[in-house]
Symmetry: C2
């Protein structure tokens, strides 16, 4: 297809598609003349991923570039590509390695979780816990373990989805699962705060205490 058709199907202005081509985010089309090229479904798929990571994942173009480069690594197996995609996503969270992760590691060890000490997500967890504490938000062990259980539940379900993915699509699925489903989880988390707990099927098995007082409605 021509660039105009590609642009229309991706829901992006032609100028944006040209910018992605120039900056190397999008692979070149098949040249048919000095000024024209044809594009195929791989271009459309790539544009949709860029748009999703940008608009929903709120990643920067340079972070997206790193993730796409990891997906496209030549001469490596799928597992290595997936590992690099995960590392690029972790790096996009902008957390410095210099954060002390000991307390976060201890909390996970108490839950019986086995996570490599070098996991790029440990500094992210340490920083988020530190930030909550710095504004006076105490996260007690019950609260933390409810979060861990929630995360494990979501991750378990992701694994099923990922296990059904072909090797070819795996790097894309991992990037999409990690970045986009986080946004699904956040939106549901906020909606769950608005959901009347009494009537919902959403009351979790961790609900050993009575539900807290009903929250003020966020909208009428």
């Amino acid at each position: 297809m021509r660039i105009s058709k590609l642009s229309e199907r991706a829901g992006l202005p032609v100028g944006t598609v040209k910018f992605y081509l120039r900056s190397g985010l999008l692979h070149a089309g098949r040249a048919t003349s000095a000024t024209q090229a044809l594009y195929d479904e791989t271009h459309l798929k790539r544009l949709r991923l860029i748009r999703a990571l940008l608009e929903v994942g709120r990643l920067s173009l340079s972070d997206i570039h790193e993730i796409l480069d990891a997906m496209d690594l030549p001469d490596v197996d799928t597992e290595s590509r997936v590992t690099r995609v995960r590392a690029a996503i972790a790096a996009s969270s902008g957390v410095s390695d210099s954060i002390d992760v000991t307390a976060a590691q201890d909390l996970l060890a108490d839950l019986g979780w086995h996570v490599a000490a070098t996991s790029p997500h440990l500094p992210a967890l340490a920083r988020a816990l530190w930030a909550a504490e710095s504004v006076g938000l105490e996260i007690d062990p019950d609260h933390f373990s409810a979060y861990a259980e929630a995360a494990a539940l979501a991750a378990h379900s992701d694994r099923t989805a990922i296990s059904e993915t072909s090797a070819e699509n795996l790097p894309t699925t991992v990037a999409a699962t990690t970045v986009l489903l986080d946004q699904v989880l956040i939106a549901l988390h906020r909606l769950a705060m608005e959901n009347d707990p009494v009537d919902s099927r959403g009351v979790p098995r961790g609900a050993r205490h009575l539900p807290g007082p009903r929250q003020p409605a966020a909208s009428a």
Copy 2:
């Protein structure tokens, strides 16, 4: 305390603190001369919240300004302030109201959730679901309901924390709970993907199927 001490305790350069004062993010200190002022714990607390929302929540300064303004609304009760804080946080996600939320509403209705049609988080959910679908990531009903259960579990635990908060601190706690704990949840979600499901206590009650194949380790 002097501005130098305030800056040191908040872990921010003096220039940054002055910028926050000039831009109205931080309330003025008590002037002691034409060029000097004294600051107290309320200034420190505010700086820590700004820093946490900025560095961990990754919000823009203008979004943070909106949230702080909602927290500081004069002559309104706590409930109204909390409602405005939630609305400001929702607005910070930058989702347009023009998104069709019908499908997202139907999914929640199927779960028995009661959420106002005007909830600002419905467009965020609709957009995230659309983005996942646009890159070919099918979210089947089991996957969605596992996420909803995870979100309900986290929200239930948040309610307990919020119910123990004094009215005075409530707007801050709501802002911190929403923005910062989302980051805790995301970090845990990613760590849970790296956690070996076989050995973990994190295998959720939703685990009616066998765990999927073990994921490639993200780090050695």
